[in-house]
């Protein structure tokens, strides 16, 4: 049996009225990867934040290696060799990767009193004054050798504070070749990364690598990864898993938070399931299956299949021709993009984060000026008469029925105002509809109630600031509002990012409903399994270029993965 690395006993945490964790018991063993599974708002991240010292538990005990500990701050967590890799990386953008790894490193202990004791124990035992017999007479003389030794010993003790100061200063000064030394460590572990690069020049998976090296460099024995695969390509995920397995075999305890059941099955030895802040069960991965886990997670049976209907009455709704965008940094973010979005079908867009998905959707919504190309919208209200969107303002485009529900990385950046309540956020789309100068508050209020009810948004009431809701609930509010406006084109970017299975399926069903209503749905997603199951066609973007528009019914995940990294592959082949 493996040793217990960390054990939680009846740990609870509440935020105001919301109970995030209620008497959770959890055991993590060394040489083991534990998956922490649960829906949104089930308290996974809160629980892990308590281990890593971000939050302090309201009640309960934490034991490490069998001894009860108090983790008050991230610094304490360090001392107990706990390292957490957060969902949003904790890296300083303007520092090099090496500096980020070094940040917060402590000098090795140098105790003056202990050193003094050691030095004093070497004091000579001979007496300073010794008797010398000479010519039969005994005379007393001072033994200068012993005196010198004693004096030297005390001098050494007196010098200790200065030695410590000197060591402190020496440690404080950053070595010029610090990146090189760290690089050797990284190479030894088999990480492919240039540590001299600045963080803002790194890709998402490279940033994650930096985080992992950082945690390893600090000597962490307990590793926590919060949704590490959310932003990685299938190939990158495989690499990460290989690293995690190597660390597990190295004797480390690893906790990984993820929503993706196939990953849970692939990587973990045990699975702990949380539901609504409570620990439901911990099971061996080998003795369970995806269905059983899902049931434990949501507490009721869920149909895991997405019903994909055959598209009907397809009309070319949106035609994008030769679209190119050059951004402020003079980088071509979109390069000759051509595609057609048809009514009654879902067009998926796949690609590594930052491949131009955002710019593509924003240019259709009129938020970004494009340098060349055309976007033609065939207006169903006027018998599919083509309209050029280039000359329209965002408001005009909205009125045509083109709706963008963009879920940016921080969820609240675009679309919702964090400090406003749900009703006010609904009004962001309808504030022009009031009577004269006065606002119409009734219909948004009704809409808010509907969304809270239909999409099962967990909130005390509709007058709660959006900022206080959990991530998944925020997204439900955002997508719900956009769908409520009965669009003809619905663009949803990462609408299920960070959502649990139950809420994700609510969103997929919403999108499917829209498709059946004859809406042209454009879905930017990151989970390839979902893209393949949900969409009718998938457009793959890679570094601003369309590397393929494929039929979702007949493509595999690996093929899409290759298309997503096409240019990189061809470049490597060219070398």
């Amino acid at each position: 049996m493996n040793q217990v690395a960390i054990e939680l006993k009846k740990v609870s945490k509440r935020f105001g009225e919301v109970v995030a964790n209620n008497e959770v018991d959890l055991k993590v063993y060394k040489n083991e990867i534990l998956s922490l599974l649960g829906e949104n708002g089930s308290g996974k991240t809160t629980l892990m934040n308590m281990i890593s010292g971000i939050y302090f538990p309201d009640s309960g005990e934490i034991e490490i290696d069998g001894k009860p500990v108090v983790i008050k701050s991230p610094r304490d967590a360090h001392n107990y060799k706990i390292g957490m890799i957060h969902q949003h990386f904790k890296l300083v953008d303007v520092f090099s990767a090496a500096d980020n790894i070094l940040l917060g490193e402590k000098m090795s202990e140098y105790s003056i009193s202990q050193k003094a004791k050691e030095t004093l124990s070497t004091l000579p035992e001979d007496k300073i004054i010794k008797s010398v017999e000479k010519d039969g007479k005994t005379s007393k003389t001072v033994d200068f050798k012993v005196l010198g030794e004693i004096a030297l010993t005390y001098l050494k003790v007196a010098a200790l504070p200065f030695i410590k100061l000197g060591k402190l200063i020496k440690f404080d000064i950053l070595a010029k070749n610090r990146a090189k030394d760290l690089q050797e460590v990284a190479d030894k572990y088999g990480f492919e990364i240039d540590l001299k690069k600045k963080i803002y020049d790194l890709s998402v998976s490279e940033k994650q690598t930096v985080e992992i090296i950082k945690v390893l460099y600090r000597g962490a024995e307990i590793l926590i990864l919060d949704e590490p695969t959310a932003v990685l390509t299938p190939q990158e995920i495989e690499k990460l898993f290989a690293v995690l397995r190597r660390m597990r075999d190295d004797g480390k305890a690893i906790i990984i938070i993820t929503h993706k059941l196939n990953e849970v099955m692939a990587i973990s030895d045990k699975v702990a399931v949380l539901r609504k802040g409570e620990h439901i069960a911990t099971v061996d991965t080998a003795n369970t299956n995806e269905k059983e886990l899902t049931e434990m997670m949501v507490g009721k049976k869920v149909e895991l299949n997405i019903d994909r209907t055959e598209p009907v009455n397809m009309v070319d709704r949106l035609v994008v021709k030769d679209l190119s965008i050059i951004n402020h940094d003079r980088v071509k973010v979109l390069d000759n993009v051509n595609f057609v979005a048809r009514s009654g079908e879902i067009l998926g867009i796949a690609g590594i984060a930052g491949s131009g998905q955002r710019e593509l959707l924003e240019s259709i919504a009129g938020l970004v000026k494009f340098n060349s190309g055309d976007i033609i919208y065939n207006d169903p209200a006027k018998n599919d008469e083509p309209v050029d969107l280039k000359s329209k303002t965002p408001v005009q485009i909205r009125e045509l029925g083109v709706r963008l529900s963009f879920v940016p990385e921080d969820r609240l950046g675009m679309g919702l105002v964090a400090n406003m309540d749900i009703v006010d956020n609904m009004m962001l789309r309808s504030y022009k509809k009031g009577h004269g100068v006065f606002l119409d508050r009734k219909s948004p209020s009704k809409l808010a109630d509907e969304i809270v009810h239909d999409l099962e948004v967990v909130t005390p009431n509709t007058h709660t600031a959006v900022r206080k809701l959990s991530g998944g609930n925020v997204q439900k509010v955002l997508v719900g509002r956009e769908i409520a406006s009965a669009p003809t084109v619905l663009m949803a970017a990462y609408p299920v990012r960070g959502l649990d299975i139950n809420s994700s399926y609510t969103i997929y069903n919403l999108l499917n409903d829209q498709k059946e209503k004859g809406v042209a749905v454009i879905f930017v997603g990151e989970d390839l399994d979902v893209l393949i199951d949900l969409c009718d066609r998938i457009l793959v973007l890679c570094a601003g270029k369309v590397t393929g528009i494929v039929d979702a019914r007949s493509i595999t995940k690996e093929e899409i993965g290759l298309l997503m990294t096409k240019t990189e592959v061809s470049e490597k082949e060219g070398e």
Partner: protein, 318 residues
Amino acid sequence: MFASILTSAIRFSTIFTLGSTGETLTEKSGNLNLGIPGIMCAGAIGGIIGENVYIQSLSSISQMTAFGAIVTPLIFSMIFSGFLGAFYCLLTVTLKCNQNVTGLAITTFGAGLLSLLGNRIDKTGFAQASLYFTDGMDFASKLGGFGQVVFSHGFMVYFAIIVAIIVAVIIKRTRTGLSLQAVGENPATADAAGLSVTNYKYAATVIGSMIAGFGGVFYIFDYLGGSIEYTIEAYGWLAIAIVIFSVWKPNLGIFSSLIFGFLYILPYYTQVNFAQMELIKMVPYAVTILVLIVTSIMNRKESQPPAALGLTYFREER
């Protein structure tokens, strides 16, 4: 003619060097301390009170020593400006108040304190005490024009330059500096790395305030020779502009301060009419705006302000 302008520009720039170095140190920790003009005023009044206390303690002015006349006002100034810096931190870091509002309040308070107490304090012996501040190095006159420009100043001019260089080296080359920058760039990251965000903010702000406070002492005892003027607040605002101008680098701050100092005193050495003089006085501010435009067009990550500048950090925020 040019040499004499340069000499006084170097001398005058000291107040900017001290002010901007202090403010840079503070801003590197993510505290946008708009209280720096007030803190410089507080440093000045601290110096005045300190000198007054020292002179009162002597039985006659002739007993004055260089050590006492210099050290007492400097210590008092450190207490005054350090206290205001700590107060700023108490409000913005511990109590999480808005940084801008707090800073402006402290500026108003500091400037008010200077005009309230400045004239009421007995300044007998100040002129003599200030001689200790203004004394240049003996060999300056032997080196001709060059010596005059570079070595004829009081010790605080060199002190300011050395402090700016030390601060620059600490920020760029030490772990302490790296941690400080991490606190200013991304406090959550620094926190997760086990650094105490609160301690770094307090230390940087208090030390930065003390450095800036020395600017006030310099102005009163060196530049004005022991008399008093209420323009320190204006120099404080310029010091904040210099922080931006020198893209948060204290070593560049020395030269930026020199340029600002030069432009500031230039009108007094030129035979121009009132309108032209006012126009020349505007140049430093116009240059600051220009630098802001240029740095934002260049969009280099390194020449941007600390990313978390002006934001309060609360660990459990969700």
